[in-house]
Symmetry: C2
Amino acid sequence: MDPDPLSTTLAALSDPTRRAILARLAAGKATVTELAAPFAMSMPAVSRHLKVLERAGLIARGREAQWRPCRITAEPLKDVADWLAHYQRFWTESLDRLDEYLREVQKKEKRHGHGKNRAKRRA
Amino acid sequence: MDPDPLSTTLAALSDPTRRAILARLAAGKATVTELAAPFAMSMPAVSRHLKVLERAGLIARGREAQWRPCRITAEPLKDVADWLAHYQRFWTESLDRLDEYLREVQKKEKRHGHGKNRAKRRA
């Protein structure tokens, strides 16, 4: 059974080298040789990573036989973003709780009269 | 070599059952039995999925020996969102290009006098 497209995208992204390749392509088209340069990696190893990215629709390659520049095709990333959006409230809420906690700490600090250091800092 | 946290998160998310478990937990805490119910899956299989999610920090489990409810801990999802944000311009640009294309088509339609249907729709 073939994995669903979102699973294929997430699996393709779950590798630091493939994410680094995408980051490079975000700056513009590049050939396999150019992409391989920053990595201590054989060309076949880079080609395998490119194939995974290509299968996930995250990159596309030119048709010119010798010079087949890769470019980013970020549409699948939008699907990841759309999926993530359902969970955004969880980390927003966490930050809200942190904010509330910090305000509580500040209030306590005031109540217990630890204002001296603050006054010093202000001077 | 242990994978980096972002790779661990993305790998954990690259499975439709694990994403379905997260979706269920987004609605509230649940026990393993409750989580297993909608899936035609053995308890050990569900437990294995939960372990992957737990290792990625995407869920946490209660300490009560018998009743160990799982809950979502979405902080790693924020790291995915932060990573994704670098690429947002790619799909926004694609939509801009689509918008431009549609406007171009509309302009052509007007120029060639295909305004009849539009007039009908407006009536």
